[in-house]
């Protein structure tokens, strides 16, 4: 059997990063439309990190805003408000740093993969109400935080020492706190 020529292998290797995907499981645990990672565009790690932070902050703020409109459960509302405030704060930090480093955060073109990712987080939630909404909301926050923590932890290893790495290092524990609270909220509580 003839082996592929070096030129073909090289072509495949060059194509592969552009097809790199970051599968996002939906709340039911099934994979939805894959989301292309900014890494696929071979951006410098600091740009990937800033865009990833921004993208996630936008997603979490959209989720939290929806929960503040839909949920009537005080704990869930407080959780949503906390998420909204923390991610808005982090996003301002991210934007300020991106501005200082002359990095564009314009990663949400209409119909682009990041927007699809955000929409996939919201899809289905808008049709839910009451406890079903609360549970689905918290599940999505937990899953997306889990993914983001893994993604940032991976990215952190590629970052040089500097402001972006500092931001990622400082933000990761706060994401973990959000994750822990979400997991607590998912545990069924005895009726009192």
């Amino acid at each position: 059997m003839a082996l592929p020529s070096p030129a073909l292998l090289l072509a495949l290797l060059q194509v592969q990063p552009a097809m790199a995907v970051d599968p996002v499981p939906d709340p039911a645990g099934e994979t939805t439309a894959p989301v292309m990672d900014a890494q696929a565009h071979r951006l410098p790690p600091r740009e990937v990190a800033l865009r990833t932070l921004h993208k996630d902050n936008q997603t979490q703020m959209a989720l939290a805003n929806l929960a503040l409109q839909r949920s009537e459960q005080p704990m869930v509302r407080r959780y949503a408000r906390r998420l909204l405030r923390d991610h808005r704060f982090a996003d301002r930090r991210t934007a300020a740093l991106a501005d200082r480093l002359d990095v564009s955060l314009e990663v949400l073109p209409e119909g682009g993969p990041e927007l699809i990712h955000m929409q996939s987080m919201l899809v289905g939630l808008q049709d839910l109400e009451g406890e079903a909404f609360d549970e689905a909301f918290v599940q999505r926050v937990v899953q997306s935080h889990h993914q983001q923590i893994l993604r940032l932890a991976r990215l952190r290893n590629e970052l040089e020492d500097g402001a972006v790495r500092q931001l990622v290092n400082a933000w990761l524990p706060i994401l973990d706190i959000h994750l822990q609270i979400g997991r607590t909220l998912l545990v069924p509580r005895p009726i009192s």
Binding site: M75, Y79, R82, N169, A170, P173, I174, D176, I177, Q180
Partner: protein, 169 residues
Amino acid sequence: MHEHDPYVGSKLIATFVGGTFSGLLAGLVMLAVAVMSAAAAGLGSSLPLRLIASVRYGPDALVVGQEALMVGMLVHLLVSAILGVLFAALTSRQATIGMALLFGLAWAAVVWMVMTWVVLPISAPPLYAWTQMVPVWWFVLHLVFGAALLLTPVLERAIGGTPTGVAPA
């Protein structure tokens, strides 16, 4: 022998009461600045107290009801009072306001180090996480606390008098 020295007794009372009052006052000033800055940053005015309450509730302090604010307030004031008493014990009550301010800032730096690297990572991880997000501001808040302790020697003198005029036993 100094079996019963009234001056020593009054000094201890002055240290305890004066330190408690000045610690509480400094704690309230620090808390006020923290609350206002959190609100101004869009993080919500309740965040500082909720983060302190994570000593009791863990991360859930950020979402439980108003009881977290009470717990946060109690813990903060208790720690502030203890730090105020320790400061009073370490500082001469003859110190001028300027000296007390300098000692207070130095004390604040020590407290900041111990809190940041020893106490919080163990007792309140959510608060620790936020201190890493806003490290400079966290340090400034401690300087505010230390600066607000400058009245400690004045309070001690007002409560316990001064050594001059006390007849040696």
